[in-house]
Symmetry: C2
Subunit: 279 residues, 2 copies
């Protein structure tokens, strides 16, 4: 059985950074809290817990130690609350998300109606729009939603970092017609599209794909969906012990990819297990 | 013979304003010069000459009186030259063109690479880009030309006021991929597209269309072309005496439209002549 491992499998830049900051904080300080699970990987969250990092939903009632803001970022209000608390802060907000937050604030301050391309309920989106509060802010998922936006003299567009470029382009098209001035910050991080593209390419060259990552990770679930459209027998797993040897009967080429929140050690464990099965 | 007269025939806002300013200046001052022919209507230019407005190519050598800047506008350099001269200035630059000049200057000052959607050799375009000089300025006629633009962090787009919206949209699409920040000022004046749309609609409901305006007027020539595509017997005329009664044999419905630089009096003269032919 030949194995093709996606070079884009696993941590993106922002997750890698958050991961390092969290483990560093765990080594240096105590107590350390993470505001929500650091990333959508139960295995990583468990390791952090073993090093003393406790998941909390809020800083209320905490009186000392360090709190980690995860890579999605938080709302401006929440950030103020944290900074006003007695806690020290390790801000692991992805720098690309931070940029989107800054652009949203800047557009609001300069009098633009802010259009955010993204999913209304996603924590990253909630964070970004909070920086444009008290202004005109609209979250649109696609060009159909954008079509019902009111006309505005000045419109400013930012995007959730994981959006597809094509979706942004279609929304820009619609907003161009609705404004006299349109200002677009392309805040899309191409890690997502590169990973999806590679998954597609690998699925086409394999008999099945193993997609590794948290079952609660949206981007991993999406990768699994993409692979299954091409190779229906593809399997989404979180850990090596979930692997069923029967899956590989008749498989000559196996693809392996992983979501942005999947640590390398889990991918390695899975590869090891698969290698053993080959013998 | 039924006659349909386009409600959009004749002067646009900017030309009407330039026309009024020029005749006012002719009434009040002497000598008065026009920097280039005021508009592309030999009949209007002739009337202005009769009132004492002389066409000059430059202010060099002029020592007193008023100089009129026509609706296309002039380059920043030329404007400085005029202001530094002994002449008084009547600035008949179309306010929409002026806006485009101001946006170009502002984008340049704020560090954007300026992309102007338009025809390189048009005096309006020459005027607008001169306000972004000493910066990165590119004139692109269509999306194909835009495709060869270099990538830039900040791109700012303005359009020649007579461009089509669809062309601007296609160029925005291309530039969105080439920049991290894209700022678009939609400086298109819809007078042109409204007039063309109405000409199309009238051509479809007529047996032939009379298109009235200077043979040297680009927008009138374009109107004639549009009408002839639908009604091949359509005729482009400058004045009533060019009308040939034989054109109307068998014509049951006659359309009439006129370019942006065609004065109402010429359209009226033509209507009068046609009405007489009906009897």
């Amino acid at each position: 059985m030949k194995i093709i491992r996606a070079s884009s499998a696993g941590f993106c830049f922002g997750v890698r950074r958050a991961f390092s900051l969290a483990f560093e904080a765990a080594d240096r300080y105590s107590p350390v809290y993470s505001l929500g699970p650091l990333i959508h990987s139960p295995q990583v969250v468990k390791r952090l817990q073993e090093r003393g990092v406790e998941v909390v939903e809020d800083v209320d009632g905490l009186s000392e130690g360090v709190v980690i803001v995860r890579s999605h970022g938080v709302t401006a209000e929440k950030m103020e609350e944290i900074l006003a608390s007695a806690m020290d802060v390790v801000d692991a907000t992805c720098p690309f998300v931070k940029k989107a937050q800054e652009y949203a604030a800047m557009l609001r301050n300069e009098g633009y109606s802010v259009v955010l391309v993204g999913e209304k309920d996603h924590p990253e989106v909630q964070g970004i729009i909070s920086y444009a509060e008290n202004g005109n802010v609209y979250v649109v998922a696609d060009f159909k939603e954008a079509s019902s936006l009111p006309r505005k003299r000045k419109m400013g567009i930012v995007a959730q970092t994981t959006q597809s470029y094509e979706n942004l382009r279609q929304i820009v098209d619609v907003c161009l017609e609705k404004s006299l001035e349109l200002r677009v910050f392309n805040t899309i991080c191409d890690a997502t599209s590169i990973r999806q593209e590679e998954a597609r390419s690998i699925a086409r060259r394999s008999d099945m794909v193993l997609i590794v990552g948290g079952f609660n990770s949206a981007n991993t679930t999406r990768l699994a969906q993409i692979c299954r459209e091409i190779q229906p027998h593809s399997q989404h797993v979180e850990t090596a012990d979930q692997i069923d040897p029967e899956w590989f009967e008749g498989v000559e080429v196996l693809g392996i990819t992983a979501g942005a929140s999947t640590p390398a050690w889990i991918i390695d464990e899975i590869l090891e297990k698969v290698e053993k099965l080959k013998k």
